[in-house]
C-alpha cells in the first residue's frame, strides 16, 4: 500500500461526496485537484495499476461521445472500464474520475480506462497515464483564446506523441493536420476516415482551418470535403495526400435526427454494418473512431456492433427531454464546426421548429464570441424557424443571424437562463418540439434549470 496515494484517493472521494451533498455541483474537478496536491503522482500511480492500460481520446470535437461509445463497447466485451464520463477532461478531472473508481487503499477497480483529454491538457495527460492507445479525432479552431494558435496545439501534440514510443496511435487522417502530425509515426499508426463521395460538401466551409498543407504551405485540393477541413485531400505543392485508410466508413445512411448506419471496411475483414441511435455526419466520425480504437484493442466486430447499438446520446448531445407537454432537443455547440454541423443536420432534416440558441462567454465556453462569425448560419435564414437567443452573449448571436440574412421579425433576444427557458417553452404549442443549442456553461445552467423544474437529472448522475 502507498499511504500517500491512499490519502490522495480518500481526500478526492470524500470531497466529491461532500460537494454533491452540499449541492455545490458535480464535484468533478476540485477533488482531483486536491488529490494531486496530496500526491502529485496520483494519476500516474493509479493508471499504472490498470492491467489493460489506458486509451486517451483527444480532439476538438466528439471526445465525449466517442469515449462513451468506446467505453460501452468495452463493457459489452466484458471489461471493467474506468471512464471520466462527465466531460471533466483536465488532469484534475481525470484524476478525480479514476479516484472515484478506486478503493480507499488506492486500488483501481477496473481493467482499462477510457479517458478523454482536453486539447491543452493532452501533453500532461499522456505523460502521466502512458496510454496504450491514443485516439486522435480532429483539430478545429476552438476557444483560441485558451489554446493559442492551432499550429501551437499541433506542435505540442506532436512532441507528446514522440515521447510515447510504446503507444499505438489511432488517427483520423481525413484531418490533414493530424495526418501530417503522425506521419513520422506511421509504423505504429492505424488510420481511419470516410470513403463516401455522397457525403461530400460542395465547397470548403469558411471555418475550415487546415486547408493549407502543413508541410509546404500550399493550399490543399480536395477530392472530397466531408466536414469542415476533414476530407480526401492532396497537396499540389509537395504531393502530400491523405494516407491509405486502414479502417473506412462507406455506404453511410443518415436517417433524420434519429439514426445513422454505415459499413465498416477494414483490411483483411469482410465489410460489416453498424447502426446507431444518433444522427449527423459528425457522429459517423465519432462511431468510426470508436470502431477503429476497438479494433486496435482486438475486439471482435459483433461486440463492437452491440456496443454501438447500446450507446445513447451523451449529456446535451442531441438529448431529448419532455417538459410541460413539449419536447426539447438539446444539442451542445462549442465552436464554428459544431454549429455548422447542427445547422446542416437541422436544415437537411427540413426542421422548421423554433430554436433557442444560448451563448455564454465564460472560461469553459471561450471568452471570445467572435467564433459565431466563423460559422455558416446563412442556411438557417432560408428556413421558417423562429429563433430565440439568450445567455450572456445572446445579443451577439442575434446580430450574427441578422447579418446572415435572417429576418429580424423572426428573431428575439431573451434574457439569460433560467428566464430564457421559461420564455421559450411558453412560445411552443403543446406537443411541439423545440431545439435548444447551448454553449457549454449554458448547457450546465440549462441542466440546472431543468432539474429545478423536475425534468432532467443533474449531469453528474448520468
Amino acid at each position: 500500500m502507498d499511504p500517500r496515494l491512499s490519502l490522495a484517493v480518500g481526500v478526492s472521494r470524500l470531497s466529491a461526496t461532500a460537494i454533491r451533498r452540499l449541492g455545490w455541483g458535480g464535484g468533478t474537478a476540485l477533488p482531483g485537484l486536491l488529490a494531486s496536491l496530496v500526491d502529485p503522482a496520483a494519476l500516474s500511480k493509479l493508471s499504472r495499476q490498470l492491467p489493460a492500460g489506458c486509451v486517451v481520446v483527444a480532439g476538438t470535437n466528439g471526445k465525449t461521445t466517442t469515449a462513451r461509445m468506446l467505453a460501452t463497447i468495452l463493457k459489452q466485451a466484458g471489461h471493467r472500464v474506468v471512464h471520466n464520463r462527465a466531460g471533466s477532461n483536465l488532469v484534475r478531472g481525470i484524476t478525480a474520475a479514476i479516484a472515484e473508481q478506486s478503493s480507499l487503499l488506492g486500488r483501481v477497480r477496473g481493467e482499462i480506462a477510457v479517458l478523454e483529454a482536453d486539447e491543452a491538457a493532452f501533453p500532461a495527460v499522456v505523460r502521466q497515464t502512458s496510454p496504450r492507445i491514443v485516439l486522435l479525432l480532429n483539430l478545429f479552431r476552438d476557444q483560441l483564446d485558451r489554446y493559442g494558435e492551432l499550429d501551437t496545439v499541433a506542435r505540442t501534440w506532436g512532441e507528446a506523441l514522440t515521447a510515447l514510443p510504446a503507444a499505438s496511435i489511432v488517427v483520423n487522417v481525413d484531418d490533414p493536420a493530424l495526418a501530417a502530425l503522425t506521419d513520422q509515426l506511421a509504423s505504429r499508426r492505424l488510420t481511419f476516415g470516410l470513403a463516401e463521395q455522397r457525403c461530400a460538401l460542395d465547397q470548403l466551409p469558411h471555418a475550415a482551418d487546415a486547408a493549407v498543407c502543413r508541410r509546404c504551405g500550399t493550399p490543399l485540393t480536395y477530392r472530397a470535403a466531408f466536414l469542415s477541413h476533414l476530407g480526401d485531400y492532396w497537396c499540389p505543392g509537395c504531393g502530400f495526400e491523405r494516407p491509405p485508410l486502414d479502417v473506412a466508413a462507406r455506404a453511410i445512411a443518415l436517417e433524420g435526427l434519429e439514426r445513422l448506419s454505415f459499413e465498416v471496411a477494414a483490411l483483411g475483414q469482410q465489410p460489416w454494418r453498424v447502426d446507431i441511435a444518433l444522427s449527423g455526419l459528425y457522429n459517423v466520425y465519432n462511431a468510426l473512431a470508436a470502431v477503429a480504437a476497438a479494433q486496435a484493442l482486438g475486439i471482435a466486430p459483433e461486440l463492437i456492433r452491440a456496443g454501438l447499438a447500446a450507446t445513447r446520446a451523451a449529456f446535451g448531445r442531441l438529448e431529448r427531454v419532455c417538459y410541460r407537454d413539449r419536447s426539447l432537443v438539446i444539442v451542445l455547440i462549442k465552436n464554428p464546426t459544431g454549429l455548422n454541423e447542427v445547422v446542416r443536420m437541422l436544415t437537411s432534416a427540413r426542421i422548421e421548429a423554433p430554436l433557442l440558441i444560448l451563448i455564454n462567454d465564460l472560461d469553459a465556453d471561450g471568452r471570445d464570441v467572435s467564433w459565431l462569425w466563423d460559422a455558416d448560419l446563412e442556411p438557417l435564414a432560408q428556413t421558417g424557424s423562429p429563433v430565440f437567443t439568450g445567455g450572456i452573449r445572446g445579443a451577439d448571436m442575434a446580430l450574427r443571424l441578422k447579418y446572415a440574412g435572417f429576418p429580424v421579425e423572426r428573431l428575439r433576444v431573451l434574457d439569460d437562463l433560467p428566464g430564457a427557458l421559461d420564455a421559450f417553452v411558453s412560445e411552443l404549442a403543446p406537443g411541439q418540439t423545440g431545439y435548444i443549442l447551448p454553449t457549454y456553461t449554458a448547457l450546465l445552467a440549462l441542466r440546472r434549470a431543468l432539474a429545478e423544474r423536475g425534468v432532467a437529472p443533474a449531469f453528474w448522475r448520468q
Binding site: R141, L144, D145, L150, P219, R367, K402, V408
Partner: protein, 242 residues
C-alpha cells in the same frame, strides 16, 4: 451603384471571426441598395490598381503572416500603398495591422518588413494580451471588441491612434493607445468582429468608398437597434470581466 471589396489573404489570414467584417460591409451596402462584390486576393495573386473600393485584411497565424509580408515586398505592396495614399478605405486587424506598420520584430529570426503606411512598429512579446476591449475614439465614439495578441505595437511621432483604451491592453499594454489611423485606413487589434458591433466604423469605410467612386453621396440611415443592443451588452461584459 456598386462597390468591390478586396479581401486580402482571405484564406490564410482570417482568424477569430474577422470574416464578420466583410459580411458587415457587404450587408450594409446591400441593405442600402448598393451592390457589393467581394473578391478574395491570396498570396501570389496580383493587385490590379483602381479595381477595388474597400480593402479588408484580417489576422493570421505566424506562418501565414510571414507569407503575406513577403508577398507584399514588390509591386503588389506598392499598389496597395498608392491606393491608400489616394484615399482608398482599408480596415486591417491584428496581423494585417502589424504589417501595415514599418516592421515586425519576432522573438528570434529576421525582422519582418511591413508596408510602412502607419508610422508604427511591432515587437513580439511574451505575454498574450487577451480580453474584451473598450476604446474611446474622438472620431468614432465608443468602440468595443476583443483583443488577442502578443505583439506589442508602438506608434511613431507621425502616427495618430484610433483611440484610447478605457478597458483592455490596446496597442502595447503600456501607453493606452489602440490602433492607428491614416487617411481612410484603420488598423487595430479589435476582433469581435469589430464592424458589426461598431457600425459607425463600417459606414465610415462605405461612405469613403462611395465618395471616391461616385463623388459626394449621403449614406441612407439603417435601423441599428440590434447593433446597439449587442454593442452595449459587450461593453457591460467588458466592464464585468476586466
Amino acid at each position: 451603384m456598386e462597390l468591390t471589396i478586396c479581401w486580402l489573404y482571405a484564406r490564410t489570414m482570417n482568424i477569430y471571426g474577422d470574416r464578420g467584417n466583410v459580411l458587415a460591409l457587404a450587408q450594409r451596402c446591400r441593405w442600402r441598395g448598393i451592390e457589393a462584390r467581394v473578391i478574395e486576393l491570396g498570396v501570389g495573386e496580383p493587385l490590379e490598381p483602381g479595381r477595388y473600393d474597400i480593402f479588408f485584411w484580417g489576422g493570421g497565424q505566424d506562418r501565414e503572416q510571414v507569407a503575406a509580408a513577403h508577398d507584399l515586398q514588390g509591386p503588389k505592396g506598392e499598389t496597395l500603398r498608392c491606393e491608400i495614399e489616394e484615399g482608398a478605405p482599408l480596415l486591417a486587424i491584428c496581423g494585417g495591422y502589424q504589417l501595415l506598420g514599418r516592421f515586425y520584430r519576432p522573438q528570434r529570426g529576421e525582422l519582418l518588413p511591413g508596408l510602412g503606411i502607419f508610422d508604427a512598429w511591432t515587437e513580439a512579446g511574451s505575454r498574450r494580451m487577451i480580453g474584451n476591449v473598450v476604446v474611446e475614439s474622438e472620431e468614432f465614439g465608443e468602440l468595443v471588441g476583443f483583443e488577442n495578441h502578443s505583439g506589442r505595437t508602438f506608434l511613431g511621432p507621425r502616427a495618430r491612434p484610433l483611440g484610447r483604451v478605457r478597458i483592455g491592453w490596446g496597442n502595447n499594454g503600456e501607453d493606452k493607445t489602440e490602433g492607428c489611423r491614416y487617411r481612410n485606413a484603420i488598423g487595430c487589434y479589435l476582433h469581435g468582429p469589430v464592424l458589426p458591433k461598431n457600425p459607425q466604423l463600417a459606414d465610415f469605410l462605405i461612405e469613403a468608398a462611395l465618395r471616391r467612386r461616385y463623388g459626394e453621396i449621403a449614406l441612407l440611415p439603417l435601423d441599428d437597434t440590434l447593433e446597439r443592443v449587442a454593442q452595449s451588452s459587450a461593453v457591460r461584459r467588458a466592464q464585468a470581466t476586466r
